[in-house]
Symmetry: C2
Subunit: 217 residues, 2 copies
């Protein structure tokens, strides 16, 4: 079960950023990119970029930089983006609709095959052309379709129960947008997208910049 | 302009998580919480919690733990959550609608006062009861209202121009949902919510778990 390449988590989280920048470079018609240019466009420094990419790639050419086509493909392989991942989304609210309707995820291999909700008024309707099913059917359908990824966009109070159902049906990776820490077995990976935390770091920055607030502290 | 308390960025990003957990504890009727319980609910270890909270709080009582009311209030002050922040949101698509419609941000002091878009079919309409204005008016309105926070939910290609306009109008904190690295002056803080990166870390985990993929690598 262990991966072939052991890679630090912070590196793993930067690789998709490099991937996205490389795709943009390719679309702009570039063939090679230097580590410093890749760093500038990604927001990381030069040395960090080289160190990260050394984990998966030894093809940088002195003076020319990285060959964009090859590095992009290598990163996509490494990150598993070439594999299509079927996912179940639970929570057909506004955020669920935003995720289900976002075309860009297809480039990352994400295929939302089913949408679930507990609201009788929503069940039977559609969300971005996918039928909305009762959450009571989640376990059965996830198991039958072999779904390995779950996306949670329900309110905080409902999230743990949804996660438990997903795990019992064999889901191994959960993308959690509910503002709550999920308890899951060790072999299940949870990625929290904590929007409130993002907001709070910005509020803190604004408070720090405000001379009036600081004077009163 | 410098803050009174210097705090490491990773700590700053964990504080909102503690804050949220504390609010949930308070809603559940708890009065005190131990660092280990707070850690369990936040997903961080005991020692980490104590070290982080030591930056802003010296009121933990041996045997009793943290007094939830006081610590919550202290965290909210520290993070600037008691200040109301007026924000401009640019990009009235699905994600913009999800953010504009999310009630939970009010608890973090966020007040989206204006929504902008470039699509003539959207301009003049509303998004979660806010009028959608032409993005041409962004600079003028942001400046006149003294808006300090901008939220970007436009496609990647349009994001830098929107950020430039925000910065020129005095915006000091940008919450960026466009999958692109924005170039801004040093005094402006950008928080990237990189959904594709989150997705890629999950794909990688699933690939690593898959014995067939590993055998073929």
């Amino acid at each position: 079960m262990a991966g072939l390449v052991s890679i630090p988590k912070p590196t793993l989280e930067r690789l998709p950023v490099y991937y996205r920048v490389l795709v943009q470079c390719r679309e702009a018609g570039m063939q090679y990119v230097s580590s410093s240019e890749l760093g500038r466009r990604s927001g990381f420094d030069n040395a960090q970029v080289r160190k990260d990419l050394n984990h998966i790639w030894s093809g940088g050419r002195p003076g020319l930089g990285y060959e964009i086509d090859k590095l992009t493909s290598c990163l996509a392989d490494f990150l598993g983006l070439h594999n299509t991942t079927d996912a179940a989304l639970v929570g057909a609210g506004r955020l669920g609709a935003a995720l289900a309707g976002y075309q860009g995820f297809a480039g990352y291999g994400l295929n939302i095959v089913a949408v679930f909700d507990s609201d009788p008024e929503k069940i039977g309707g559609t969300l971005s052309e996918r039928p909305i099913l009762s959450v009571d059917k989640l376990a059965d359908i996830a198991e039958r379709l072999g779904i390995r990824m779950g996306i949670i966009t329900v309110p905080a109070k409902a999230a743990q129960a949804v996660a438990d159902t997903m795990v019992s049906a064999g889901v191994q990776a959960i993308w959690n947008f509910a503002p709550v820490c999920l308890q899951v077995p060790k072999n299940v990976l949870v990625r929290n997208e904590d929007l409130a935390a993002g907001l709070a770091t910005l509020s803190y920055h604004l408070k720090e910049l405000d001379p009036l607030t600081n004077a009163m502290s």
